[in-house]
Amino acid sequence: MLTHLERSDKNTQRCCRIMTHTRVLTIPVVLLTLVFAFGWHIAVGAKTVPLGTVFQALTNYDQSVFDHVIIRDLRMPRAIYAVFVGASLSVAGALMQGVTRNPLADPGILGLLVGASFAVVMAVSFLNLSSPALIPPIAAFGATVTAILVWTIAGVAPGGSTPLTLVLSGAAITAFLGAFITLANLMDQDSFESLRVWLTGTLSGRSIDVLYWSLPWIILGMVLSFAIAGQITALAMGDDTAIGLGINVARVRGTALLAVIALTAASVSIAGPMGFVGLVIPHVVRLFVGADYKRIVPYSAACGAIYLLLVDIVARLILAPVEVSTGIMTAMIGAPFFVWLVRARL
């Protein structure tokens, strides 16, 4: 007879063994998939381009070939946006899930995306600040204020910031700011025209300048995330364990918040509020690589990029020639996943 403790110990060992032996997600596999998804994303569209031409255009650009011009000027920016936005949002979601120990955490669900969008909408329609350099800091400001607000409300509620109170206050803030965004839309129809599509979460139509100005934020966020990934693993086991392991909990939390805000702000600046990406990917990645954030963070970045490329392919093809907003597609895939998580984890 095994005691309960021994049995659970054996189970853990078996789990670990399965995890290490059936490692599907390895670095070569992920990178190859990423390259393939990138190529495929560029190849499909109103005019299908053979994959060979795609790689030729990327490696050996010839301005006189029409297909090469399409690829370089129209399709490649979009694929690059998808890579950066998918990676940023997934890493942000992974950090939030680890730090708050909340399986339902995601920049969208906890209101950060709508906070950033709200700030951008207000700045563009009332202060006429539409210079691409200013958009990321404005979005970061909105995300910061919203994050603090949501956490304060959830912390004041009885029982502290549980998954339920966090999701509820996130949903409330989303509804509240959403109402104000609609209001701004009604007050100022003209300047809003350009923002309408952006607000549903889209990868098309943004100038490449926005990407350049967002890139420093993404790099900052990624560097911070990779730096604290190991400490997040300890934090995910509980504050007491983390303190026992010699980790400065407050500093890791602060750094994580900074990283999440930088990543969220950059992706909102590029693509608008793209919900549920940060929820889905870290959970899927965790299934394959286990609970170590040193592995979860980089794999989330790569898998998030692949995921958003694939979702964007579906969004462009499903109702062709009409394009569905990518943000709508991510919500349609992510929301059922959220419901499943609620059932399975709570």
């Binding site: 339902l104 409300i153 004041v156 509620a157 009885p158 029982g159 549980t162 998954p163 339920l164 109170t165 999701v167 509820l168 206050s169 949903a171 409330a172 803030i173 509804a175 509240f176 959403g178 109402a179 104000f180 609609t182 209001l183 009604l186 007050m187 549903t200 919900g275 549920f276 109702l319 009409v322 394009e323 569905v324 907003s325 709508i328 597609m329 919500a331 349609m332 992510g334 929301a335 059922p336 959220f338 419901v339 609620v342 059932r343 709570l346």
Partner: protein
């Protein structure tokens, strides 16, 4: 709470009445009448109070006043009041039977289900008769309610919390499908649907008034019947069973009733958020009383809320009309957060 015992038909029908609640009901009715009067008076063609009164009793001061009051302002105000009452009642029933202070038809996706059914019909069959709208809304809302119940009921323990979270997820999913429908659909129809989805009352006429009055008239007797088993269900399914309530069928009937109230209101004015959440709580704050009177107060509070939102949205930034749904959300969210924060124990969530 002090109550007075009233009985009729030799004690066959008897009710406990809290006098304070009746005073509150009177005050709310007066407020509703005041807002109605203000709403009839103001707009781009102002009419003074005697003028409004003369128009209503049939001796209008001018033809313009006659048209403005009877064609535009009066039906609009009536629809706002009745829809508000329906939303409030729907929320009150949902809160009582799920024993969850946060249940609201628009938070858990019931309103969104109604919205999706209507938008899908507009997009797929553009020349559909407007009369089908309520039926579709009811069907969509009922399907969503059944789906959430089914998902949330699969496992035991913490059921109410899972109910709300499931609802939030389902609501997000349905909103995404609705947005996709709008991108796919014809731009003119999409524009019309967008205004309706924001919870706008500006396009209603006497058809909606008639429709909503019939709904209210048909559903009120059901509500009067339902108030007794609902009072028992409020104490929990075990107690209700002990008090002789057939819990399962009554629950199903009540959920259907709640969904019907929300769906018909949505069919007329679009998904107005947070009224069903806030009105029952405000009513409870105004006066402590039994379930029946609480429903009455809730209906009046909901009516006042939506009328006021419509009136303010129409006049505050004229000529821009702000849909009432936006104002109810702006009003409702702080109250919602207050409820979350004020709940005594985490078990109540």
């Amino acid at each position: 709470m002090t109550t007075t015992h009233l009985s009729a038909f030799r004690g066959r029908i008897s009710v406990l009445v809290a006098p304070k609640a009746m005073w509150v009901a009177l005050a709310l009715s007066t407020l509703l009448l005041t807002i109605t009067a203000a709403s009839l008076m103001s707009g781009s063609y102002p009419i003074d109070l005697p003028g409004v009164w003369q128009t209503l009793v049939g001796t209008p001061p001018s033809d313009t006043a006659q048209t403005v009051v009877w064609q535009f302002r009066f039906p609009r105000t009536l629809v706002a009041a009745i829809a508000g009452a329906l939303f409030g009642l729907s929320g009150a029933i949902l809160q009582n039977i799920t024993r969850n202070p946060l249940a609201d038809p628009s938070l858990v996706g019931v309103s969104q289900g109604a919205g999706l059914a209507v938008v899908a019909a507009i997009v797929v069959y553009p020349d559909i008769n407007a009369g089908w709208r309520p039926v579709l809304a009811f069907g969509g809302a009922l399907a969503v309610a059944a789906l959430i119940q089914w998902i949330a009921m699969q496992r035991t323990g913490g059921a109410t919390m899972r109910f709300i979270l499931t609802g939030i997820g389902v609501a997000a999913f349905i909103s995404a499908i609705t947005s996709a429908m709008l991108t796919y659909g014809n731009i003119d129809q999409a524009q019309a649907a967008l205004g309706w989805l924001a919870g706008s009352i500006h396009a209603v006429g006497w058809v909606e008034v008639k429709f909503l009055s019939i709904c209210l008239a048909l559903l009120t007797p059901c509500l009067m019947w339902a108030s007794r088993p609902m009072a028992a269900l409020k104490l929990g399914p075990e107690v209700a069973l002990g008090l002789g309530v057939a819990v399962r069928p009554v629950r199903i009937c009540l959920i259907t009733l709640s969904v019907a109230l929300a769906a018909f209101a949505v069919a007329a004015v679009g998904p107005l958020g947070f009224v069903g959440l806030v009105a029952p709580h405000l009513a409870r704050r105004f006066a402590r009383c039994g379930v029946g009177q609480h429903l009455l107060l809730t209906a009046l509070t909901g009516a006042v809320m939506v009328c006021l939102s419509d009136y303010v949205g129409r006049t505050a930034f004229a000529p821009i009309q702000i849909p009432a749904g936006i104002l109810t959300a702006i009003l409702g969210v702080p109250v919602f957060l207050l409820i979350v924060v004020k709940i005594q124990s985490p078990q109540q969530l």
